[in-house]
């Protein structure tokens, strides 16, 4: 059964002078344990879509269902990781990663220990009582991941989580995030404008066209790549052929846009 279902989601932003349609007729379903990437150019509505799934924004039309229940407010089983880490500078790393537990009233010793274990797992045990300003960009993004995972969501929404990092850090984090999510059996939706990242990390890639954002095509990533860690997948011969395929589709989108 599908964990998440989107039923013809549409979003229009209104202002005094205009109405911008950011998304139109987005229908898709995500099964438990699946890793989906949403790929599209800047401004095509990717962040808007994630906000809607996260329950932060009510869509103008259509509905979001989790386990066949409509979502109208932030769902406890959905974790949202924003484009930048947005760690709270005045809180220690420990207080940052347990923030969600506090807000969700799950502030038990057991849950806190689990969060600290995650921090250790991700190699940042020693930063527990430090402040975010003392950490590098990659470390902060890892802490943000732990913060999102601490409330034990079933599904993670990742909004271009690596876009602010340097290339090397990004490659390493891709592996870390991918293996961590797999290990804990999480479902994930990753939003990105990086074709390679989408192929390397996910099972399915959904291409969005822009103005308004619409599902243009859906790609299934070959089994051979799905099994590999992102870094290994990038070396695999199937990677470049898939890349080529998606690249051509993106070119099509641009041509359609220009017409």
């Amino acid at each position: 059964m599908a964990l998440l279902q989107l039923k013809s989601i549409g979003q229009t932003y209104f202002s005094k002078t205009s109405a911008t349609t950011a998304l139109e007729d987005i229908t898709l379903s995500v099964n438990e344990g699946e890793f989906i990437s949403i790929l599209g150019p800047s401004g095509c509505g990717k962040s808007t879509l994630l906000s809607i799934i996260a329950g932060l924004l009510l869509p103008t039309t259509g509905s979001v269902m989790v386990n066949n229940q409509p979502v109208t407010q932030p769902h406890p089983k959905i974790g949202y990781m924003l484009q930048q880490d947005y760690l709270f500078p005045w809180k220690t790393i420990e207080d940052n990663i347990t923030l969600g537990l506090k807000l969700r009233d799950q502030n038990t010793n057991e849950h806190i220990q689990a969060a600290l274990r995650l921090l250790k797992e991700i190699g940042l045990d020693h930063t527990r009582s430090k402040y975010p300003s003392e950490l590098s960009g990659g470390m902060r993004q890892r802490v943000a991941l732990v913060r999102t995972l601490a409330t034990q969501p079933k599904m993670l929404l990742l909004d271009e989580p690596f876009s602010a990092l340097d290339y090397q850090t990004k490659l390493k984090l891709e592996d870390l995030v991918s293996s961590t999510l797999k290990e804990h059996g999480k479902t994930a939706i990753l939003v990105t404008h990086d074709i390679g990242e989408a192929i390397a990390m996910s099972d399915t890639v959904i291409l969005l066209s822009s103005n308004p954002g619409r599902i243009f095509r859906t790609f299934k990533i070959p089994e051979t790549l799905k099994k590999l860690l992102p870094f290994e997948a990038r070396q695999h011969p199937h990677f470049s052929s898939t890349f080529q395929q998606i690249w051509e589709e993106l070119e099509h989108i641009e041509q359609n846009d220009n017409e």
Binding site: P74, F88, P89, W90, L99, T151
Partner: protein
């Protein structure tokens, strides 16, 4: 490069910083001494009117006398109490009002023009009304200290509340946090630096409010001493009160700065 050479360079660098600091302190001290000496000599020689400008030794003698007979003490305590209460309450109430405006965008839009008018108006002009309304006492003077700082604090802090990055609120909301939690976990702590810096500004404003208040009420305090000294043409008393005010205002300001360094150590991104 050789490590010992580096170390030597570092020592040299540290020494040069130390030396500069020493020089600055030295010149400051010279200025201080020159000012008071020149004042003393000018007054003694009659270059300036000694009745009007008094002289440091006369002020010092009066100071010792007032401490001796215990009459200074009560005035200082009064003024100090009023000022501290004035700037703390002014900042707290201003922040509270800002929180209210943040909570209700409708209220904020409604109140906007009134706040602008109130902010532009010279608050000390309300002094006489306050005194009649509250009575010529401690209360009306504190009200003056608060009134002079509350509106500007509200405006500054509210602007800071509005400028907090929305994405922090998104984080809170994605964990199911409500509006109250957004305020407590994000808005308020993010604006701590602004609140503390308006505390600093309010120290100065509160002094103005309190001294003017004491001018009007004329019962106790350093403001009263200034007005009294003026009325009996005792300018030694006026200048002594002024110097005490300058000293206390400085100490308060430094105190708030210390608080600032302690409280907002980690706020820099």
């Amino acid at each position: 490069m050789n490590k010992t050479i580096m170390n030597e360079k570092h020592v040299e660098f540290l020494q040069s910083i130390k030396k500069e600091k020493r020089n600055i302190r030295f010149v400051q001290l010279i200025m201080f001494i020159s000012f008071f000496s020149l004042w003393e000599v000018s007054s003694l020689r009659g270059w300036i009117n000694p009745l009007l400008f008094s002289s440091p030794t006369k002020i010092w003698a009066l100071f010792l006398e007032k401490i001796g007979d215990g009459s200074l003490y009560i005035h200082v305590i009064y003024t100090l109490g009023e000022t501290v209460l004035g700037f703390i309450l002014g900042t707290l109430l201003g922040t509270l009002l800002a929180a209210l405006l943040w909570w209700s965008p409708f209220l904020s839009k409604v109140l906007d023009p009134y706040l602008v008018v109130l902010n532009a108006m010279p608050k000390v002009a309300l002094g006489p009304i306050l005194i009649v309304a509250i009575g010529p006492n401690f209360g009306s003077i504190i009200a003056m200290g608060i009134l002079i700082s509350i509106i500007i604090t509200t405006l500054v802090v509210y602007t800071a509340f509005q400028n907090v990055d929305d994405n922090y609120i998104k984080v809170i909301r994605s964990f199911g946090g409500n509006k109250k939690q957004c305020f407590k976990e994000v808005i308020l702590p993010a604006c701590f630096p602004t609140i503390i810096s308006s505390l600093k500004v309010n120290v100065g404003l509160s002094w103005v409010g309190v001294i003017v208040g004491e001018f009007l009420v004329s019962k106790q305090g350093l403001g009263y001493m200034i007005i009294y000294g003026f009325q009996v043409f005792n300018f030694t008393l006026v200048l002594m009160s002024l110097l005490i005010i300058a000293l206390m205002a400085t100490v308060m300001y430094q105190g708030v700065e210390l608080l600032e360094r302690k409280l907002i150590k980690h706020h820099i991104q």
